[in-house]
Every structure is written in C-alpha cells, then in structure tokens.
Subunit: 414 residues, 2 copies
C-alpha cells in the first residue's frame, strides 16, 4: 500500500479537524506508512508544501486535542483546478508529486467547490490510467452539499447559532417595555438558508425564539419587513429577527447593497460597506425611532469549537474514516455521504456517491419548509435539524482557555 | 426581621444571576420570610412591580439553574433616581412601598450608575431616620467600579473574549499567505479598556494573540494605526487587532463617528451608523486593497453564560451573599468590594465600602499597564486578569442547548 495525503479546503468549520482525525485513525489501522497533510490544500500541494503528520500527532491524546481544535489544522485554501484540456502540465505536476512521495490515496475535505478538485483529479486519473484513488470528505457549515442528508460542520454551527440566539434573546428582553429594542442578527449563508434556519432551534419552554427568520430562498421585501417590525414593536418590548446575509430584493440586489450608492461615501471618499443587519437596523431606527441593534455572528459561527456538537464531531470523524477506508478498498471519484435512517431514534449510515453529481451543486432549504409568508421555518425543519446539535465535546482547558493543537508546536517524538 | 428585596440594574452580565442566588441563599439562611425581586429594577419597583421569588425558586436545583441563566433574571433597567431635594414625593413613595411589604433589606446589583440608587436611598433613610438597610452588590462587565479589585461579570466576559479571540485568530490564519486577512475585533467599553485588554489573555503556546490592542485610555491616531497595519500586513499573512468601541481621536470624536458627515447618507437619506471596527476595516481595504473583516462581539460578550468563568460565578455569588449578610447585620449605604490578598495562589476577601466613594466613579486601566506606544497591555495586566477566567460552570443541556430559568415558568409549589 502506498501513502496517504489529506487536504482541507474552503471555509473552516468547528469540526473539520475531526474528519482529519478520522483519516489518521483509518490510515493507522490500515497500516499506512506515511500520512501527509497538504499545507493550505491543493494550492500548497502544487508548491510541494507537505506536512508529515507524524511530526504533530503521535498519540491518542494528540488526536483528541486535534478534534478540539477549530479551523483548518493543515491550513485551507480556495483554489479551483483548471480544466484538464490545455492545462495538462498542472495535472502532470500533481501526479509527479504523488509519485515522488509514493502517495496512493488522496483525500480532500471540503464543500461543493472543493469537491471539484476530487472530480478533476479522478477524471484525470481515469483518462490516464493512473492508479491513485481520490475520495471526497464532506464539510461545510452552509450545509448545501447535495445528496448527503447534511454536512459535517453544520450541526456545530447550528448549535452555536441556537445557543447564542437564546442568550441574545434573554439579553434583549432584559430592559423590558421601558426600552424596547429591535435586534437583527445576521447569519452566514449567501445562497442557502440552512444556517439562518438554525435560529429556530432556540425556541423552547425557556425561550420564545426569534420573532422572524428570513432566508435567502425567499425574495426580501423591505417595505413588508418594516411593516412587520412596526407591528411586532407595537406588541412586544423585545423583538429579535434572524436574517441571512444573502437576502435579496426583487431586483436581485443583496439587501446589504441597498445602502450603497455612488454618493454613499464618507468624508474621505471611501465607500462604506456594511452588512444587511446593519442596513436594516439603521432603517428601523430611522423610521421608528426605536433602539435597534445589529449583531453579526461572522466567523464566530464557524470557529466556535468550544461549543461543538458531539453528533457533528462524531459524524465528521466518521466521514473522514469512511473516505479513507473507501480509498483503501479501491474506490475513487466519490464523496462519502450521510444517509439518515430515522429521525427518532436518530440513526444514520455512510455511503459513497459519484463526485460528478456533487461537485459545484448547491442544495437549498426546501420551499415547503419555509412558512409564515417567508418569515419562519416549519416543524419539518426542526425534526431535521434537532438531532444534529445534540451532545458536547468539552474542550481541554489550560489557564481557563480551550487548548488547541497547532502547526507551530511539533509533537515530541518517542 | 423584615423582608428582603433585590434588584438588578444596568447592562446584564453572564453571572448577574449568581449574585441573586447568593442573596437568596443568605436570606434563607437568615430565616427571612419573603424575598422579593424588583421587576426591572428601581423603575419597576416604583410601579410596585414586585416578584415573589418563592414562585420561581423552590429548590437547590432551581438555584443551580439560576446561576446558569444569562441576563437579568428579574429584568433590568437604566434609571437614575432624582435629587432628593424637590423630589421628596418619589422617595416617600419608595419608602411607602417598602413599608407596605414589610421590607427591611434593600439590595441592588449594578455598576457605578446603579450604585447611585443605593447612595440616594441610604442618604434619604439617614436624613429621615428610616430603619431600612441599603446595600450595593457590584456588577459590570466593564470592570470600572472603583475600590474593588475587580467586578463580578468581568471574568466571564474576559473568558468569552479570550476564547473567541483564540478561535478567531485560528480562523483568520487558515488561508495563509495566499489570502492575507486583516481582522479588526471591536470590544465593548466606551471609557475603560478592561474588556479590550482581555484580548491579550488569548496569547499562549498555541496562539500568537492579537497583533495590537487599542484601549480608550490612549488617544487613537488613524494615520499611525494605518501605518502599523500596513507594516504588519507586509510581515504576516494574518493580522488580528482588538479595538475598544470607545477609541477616540485627538479632537475628541469617537473613531466610529469619523465616517459620518452630513453628506454621509444612503439613497433614502438615512444616516448610516457603523462601529469603529467597521470604519477601520473599510479604511484598510480602501487604502491597502487587502481583505479585511470587522467582528463585533456586541452583546454576546455579556450574555454568553455557556462560557462563564467559575471564579467569576463564585465571586458574583459571594458578593450577593455578603451584601445580604451585611444588611442583616445592620450595615447600610455600602457596597461589597473584592480585595485581592494574593495573585498566586489567587486569594480574595470581601469587604464593605462607603457607597459615596463608589457611585458614579469610573476606574480605568492604569496608564503604566499600557505598553508598545499604546498598542498592547503589559504582563502586569495578565497577572491581574488571568486568575479571573479560571474554571467553568457547565450549562445544563436539554435538546443540545443550555437550559435557562425564566419568569415565564413559575416553579411548582410543593
């Protein structure tokens, strides 16, 4: 058996390193001699920037710390391989490097754009009768990969969003009717509303949940939004609204672009960019005089490993393990998918699916899961998402803060 | 012995309810018959809006859940009592309500503005020979109360800030040199830099910490900032900077006001407000072409009870307990303070201090704790703050999310 290489690609998640841990474990079990990491994905690989994972991960304790480490341990990239035709040199170089390091198994962990890398490389190998195996490991907080029930990374982001929403709603309620506040929370997901929908998970016996939830799957109407906000503000002292960063008005512009005209520059002539929550809260305060507050979760929602979901961590690990196992069994040109067997008890199995059906395809929230004239998600969504946020993997603490594994500190060799 | 009333005032914290738990425990121990809560502080009290805490807290389990509940359980307010002279009616009303409910002990939990309430009421009682006792319980994430070593609420906010900074720095490093990103993180504290300083706690063997830290105690120079950012960007692929929301330029304007001129309105004629991080990242991208990202912790830093510090939780509880105990012993017109006995091992004791020395006074970060030409904090700060973030109090989870105690759900009576 040859060696293994594994890469991380696209936006990091809270659990991307659990998939890496799964790959390492499966490789050790299969008796693989060398496990390489790509430093900054395929982009680093092309520069022959490889990491010998033995330098960092020597023990079960190292693997356990890796699972508790946010963001891409190996470094990530956003890099798309060119078409094969006309760029054979790029592919020849990649296969040269693979041969030089005796790498037989190539595993890539990412979202729909990153799966393109697996597609291109397995296509090239097929075309040129190369023996290497290429397998994709799903990963994206956006949860927009097709065919898999859901994506590793989503559950932890959803847990972060729902937990923070509960805390924000309590905070927003604290001043009561004397100081009513409209809080607009902006959540990631340019094209798919899965992350924003997770705000609904906050609703329960001890939390009223957000008052409205706006997904990018539904056209956003500013006037209608303002009318609804005014009505809520007349009825309630605390109004909390979840809005996707990707909401668009009928003419196709993002809401966050509405405030930007050519005249819209500051005293230095700089064009000021702001998010959609910032735009909407300014509008609310201007039109109603009410206090409003914009909160953006920003990268916090994809890097908060201190609040990861145990289900998500385990599934990310399993996807990494299963992808490596599939490659060792001779499979190639596929991604591991999660198939849900039942909602309750929550049960899944792992399968492999042709990468051509997955790369570059986006899956959105089904239209019939969006209710209340586009301002909330249905119980069907809650049934789908609730199992994904269960359980915790507690950080290892040192000096009161979660400990992480980093490339800066090589493990001591035995 | 008469009854007890307790109120929560000002911006909530992650541990404000631990102080409430301490008051309840001390009151039960002293054999107090009725423990009332003010619904939305003194503002609600003036409307005779009282909560019978027996309706909500019956057991040790309820008290434990209360400690794990973010934001003001009783509801908060921002309300300053008027001068006594000329407003005797307000004070007469307050004492009428106290007498009506047979309340002998009045406890108020808040920051420097809120301590004014204790000052005014104890002054009035003194003036009119009233028997009631008034004690203050310190609370503020801003950590700007004088005389006490630090304030309950600060440690948990600092732990949230330091943990999130570690996660953000890892996220920001993930793309490496190919996509250098400047991340500016805006942290609360209009006048005092204690919270922003906490970003320095993220530095350790597994984290380089923020590259620069800007406190409101130092005049902010935009040109100098830009020059430093450009230099850092030339040297590093990831630059992360912590900035207080309260930084001001030499002419006294807040940095967040710099982008706002009368011309600075959007297409609808709305004046667009943005934070200082948003202003600075726009400036960075405009002047350097580099990718930049603004992150505001916003209310997340004061409501993230899921990440509270055990030391902070315990000290908040003790301050509440000690204030009640002091009142029962006949003390009045004082606030409980924390006195540090040693940094290592970390030891404190609790004392009582004249409220007149505390109300309306702000304590800032000492100038000699600020180093590197106003862009970092010294080891002295780290020695001071490190013990305050130690330990955790894990949430109670239900369906994957932290459970909270709320006024919506009355406890079942035995």
């Amino acid at each position: 058996m040859g060696n293994v290489i594994v890469g991380q690609s696209g936006g990091p998640t809270a659990v991307i390193n659990s998939s890496l841990a799964g790959v390492i474990k499966a490789s050790k079990k299969a008796g693989i001699e060398k496990i390489y990491g790509m430093h900054h994905g395929i982009e680093g690989f092309l520069k022959e920037d490889l990491i010998d994972l033995d330098d960092y991960i020597q023990s079960t304790a190292d693997l356990s710390l890796l699972k508790r480490t946010p963001s891409a341990f190996l470094g990530s990239c956003r890099y798309k391989l060119p078409e094969i035709a006309g760029h054979e040199d790029v592919y020849e170089k990649i296969f040269e490097i693979l041969e030089k390091y005796d790498i037989e198994y190539f595993l890539y962990n990412g979202g729909n754009d990153s799966m393109d890398t697996i597609k291109m490389l397995s296509d090239y190998a097929d075309l040129h009768d190369k023996p290497q195996k290429f397998m994709g490991i799903p990963k994206t907080i956006d949860n927009d990969l097709p065919l898999t029930d859901h994506c590793p990374g989503y559950g932890s982001a959803a847990k972060y969003i729902a937990t923070s929403m509960k805390e924000i709603i309590r905070d927003n309620e604290s001043f009561g009717a004397a100081k009513p506040t409209i809080c607009v929370v902006e959540i990631m997901g340019r094209h798919a509303g899965w992350l924003t929908a997770a705000a609904a998970l906050s609703k329960g016996p001890d939390c009223s949940g957000p008052d409205m939830i706006y997904l990018p799957e539904v056209t956003f109407d500013v006037d209608d939004f303002m009318a609804k906000v005014k009505q809520l503000a007349a009825e309630k002292s605390s109004v909390v609204i979840a809005v996707s960063e990707g909401v668009k008005v009928a003419d196709g512009r993002f809401v966050c672009e509405l405030g930007q005209s050519n005249d819209y520059v500051d005293a230095f002539g700089h064009k000021q960019l702001s998010g959609c929550a910032s735009y909407l809260t300014n509008l609310i305060t201007h039109e109603t005089g009410l206090k409003s507050r914009a909160i953006e979760f920003s990268t916090l929602q994809r890097c908060a490993t201190h609040l990861s979901s145990r289900v998500d961590i385990d599934e990310a690990y399993n996807c990494g393990y299963m992808a490596a196992k599939a490659a060792f069994e001779g499979d190639t040109g596929k991604m591991v998918i999660i198939e849900r067997l039942s909602d309750e008890p929550y049960l899944v199995q792992y399968k492999r699916y042709d990468i051509h059906e997955i790369a570059n395809v986006e899956r959105k929230v089904p239209k019939n899961w969006i209710i209340n004239n586009g301002t909330y998600v249905s119980d069907r969504y809650l049934t789908y998402a609730s199992p994904l946020i269960i359980g915790s993997l507690l950080p290892y603490y040192a000096n009161g803060l979660p400990k992480h594994l980093t490339l800066k500190n090589k493990a001591k060799k035995d």
